[in-house]
């Protein structure tokens, strides 16, 4: 069970790390879902064309990175409402993919790979989990960029007074999160060797939830991803034993997050 959860949570965690750095930099990143999907698609297309896994990951990071650029331009440069533009990224990705897919394959549907699928063992999964969490933790803590990211979120004016433009840091972080989402998407689709419209299946939202539940700190976020993964495998296993309506299970993350948010707000209010 735990081993299975470890494998399941790799893409989730990587996306959550993307959500974490943007959240810390003061950007509410609704667009994770769309960026993951873009990455999943680009990865499969690239592997299909070149047969190389590395090319797949590279293409995924580029595609998601480009979506991130679009997100950052419309929200930061054009000063759009960040929630609305983030949503727009999620809305724009599926039809874009369908259209590109139609151009390339003549169909907007499932793309199967004949070869080159990615297979992570439990040990490798654990390694990747620790690597990404550790890397983000390290960047946030021990690099100049990390200091800038953290300050951009809490005290952008202070950052500006030190001669650094907060919007620049935010754009950079959005693009970084796009690249992470690309990796995440590539892992989802390459693991199965297939792209299916909607394959991201809400992982971007869950990742964002994990960021909130993990108090916006790398290792607690890892933990909350783990809890999600365990909950997911429990509910998978439970289907064989007891009947829980799938739709009700799907509503849990939403209600869990709102509960977390309310508790967080109460604590904040008490402190004042």
């Amino acid at each position: 069970m735990i081993g299975k959860a470890l494998i399941f949570m790799v893409p989730l965690l990587i996306a959550a790390m993307g959500g974490l750095i943007t959240e810390l930099a003061g950007v509410l990143n609704i667009a994770l879902e769309g960026m993951i999907l873009a990455g999943a698609f680009a990865a499969v297309v690239a592997v299909d064309l070149t047969g190389s896994l590395a090319a797949g990951f590279l293409a995924a990071m580029t595609a998601s990175g480009l979506m991130a650029v679009l997100f950052s331009v419309t929200s930061l440069r054009l000063k759009g409402n960040i929630f609305v533009t983030g949503l727009a990224i999620n809305l724009i990705t599926p039809p874009l993919i369908a259209m590109v897919s139609k151009l390339l394959y003549g169909s907007g549907g499932v793309i199967r790979l004949s070869s080159g699928t990615l297979n992570l063992s439990q040990a490798e999964s654990l390694l990747w989990l620790l690597f990404f969490t550790g890397a983000i933790w390290f960047v946030l803590r021990y690099t100049p960029l990390g200091l800038r990211i953290r300050t951009a979120g809490t005290d952008p004016d202070f950052l500006f007074s030190r001669g650094i433009k907060p919007a620049g840091i935010q754009s950079l972080v959005i693009i970084l999160s796009g690249i992470l989402c690309g990796i995440s998407g590539a892992m989802i689709s390459l693991k199965l060797g297939v792209f299916i419209p909607g394959i991201s299946a809400g992982k971007g939202w869950i990742a964002l939830v994990a960021v909130y539940l993990g108090f916006k700190k790398p290792f607690p976020v890892l933990l909350s991803c783990f809890i999600f993964a365990i909950a997911e495998s429990l509910s998978d296993a439970a289907q064989g034993i007891i009947e829980i309506p799938a739709n009700l299970i799907l509503s849990f993350p939403y209600f869990m997050t709102i509960t977390g948010l309310v508790l967080f707000s109460i604590a904040k209010k008490r402190k004042q």
């Binding site: 299975k4 369908a98 499932v110 693991k191 199965l192 060797g193 419209p197 909607g198 299946a201 064989g240």
Partner: protein, 346 residues
Amino acid sequence: MNRPPKIIQFLIPALIAVLLLTGCGGKKGEEEKKSFSIAVFVPGVLAGSPTYEMMDKGVRMEAARKGATVKTVEGGFNQAEWSEKVTALAAEKTYDLIVSSNPSMPEICREVQKYYPDQDFLILEGSGKTDDQISTFFFNHRELAFLLGNFAGLITENRMEGNEIRKVGLIAGQEYPDMNNLIKPGFEMGFKNIDSAIELDFRVIGNWYDASKASDLATDMYAKGADIILTIAGGANQGVVSAAKNAGKFVLWYDSNGYAIEPGVVIGSGVIREDKAAMEMISRAIDGTLLRGSAIKAGVKEGYVDFIDDDANYLKFVPVAVREKMDRIISDMRSGSLTLPAGTER
């Protein structure tokens, strides 16, 4: 206390201007000679749905042969919008026939027909009704599921050495009436036909695209002893295949030839000949021999649903013993000497 913004004063003339400008462009004159015209309404999107693609392909092939025109319209996943779109198609009054495929379409089309009584409809996968004005064609899912159930039973029996658990799996994208009333009972009837001790592990993904979840569910099912899983989960099917590959177990494909997807893993496949049905029905419609309100039901005997037993991969990977037993059951059903007891039908 605030005045209405200038926007209103600007927008209305602007709208009228757009209307006039585009309206003045004029439209090409009357249609020349009217050929038989067909509209295909896809309740969903074509992409990723083999059955809808088969229907569209079938209609188009036959139409091309007979010089009819075809227009395909995708309705999208929002069921609430289907009715409006079918109405709009009927309102064109240029289509001699509107073709669609989904058990829910007849009820929508019946409503539309109230306003456009002259419009003919043909629904593949329809749900029949007496004194209906809508032509329906439906495939005997129970028979297909029965055949696949038999095969699943044979496979799990065959792998008995050192394995006490006799279990087969069924994964569905969502629960829907045909799944609960036809496919699941038919499948169960099938493997019980081989050995009544075989158990069923039935699970639902919740959508038709979450391949990761499908893979996780399948992994769990294989771990709990299922040897073979029938997967009816749209795009998410691929997740089941990938789980089977990792677990060294098997997958049963449902509605189209799936052997090539993963040779040696997909070792059995049914087929629903939606294209064949579409072609024949369209042919009849163009010839004027399709009766309004006819309800055609087609099963294994009629050749519209079947188990694919001549694929190279089937011959290569399925043990001879299993194939021999399966051959008997298939030929009995094809000849009509084996029929299923009455059950819930559409």
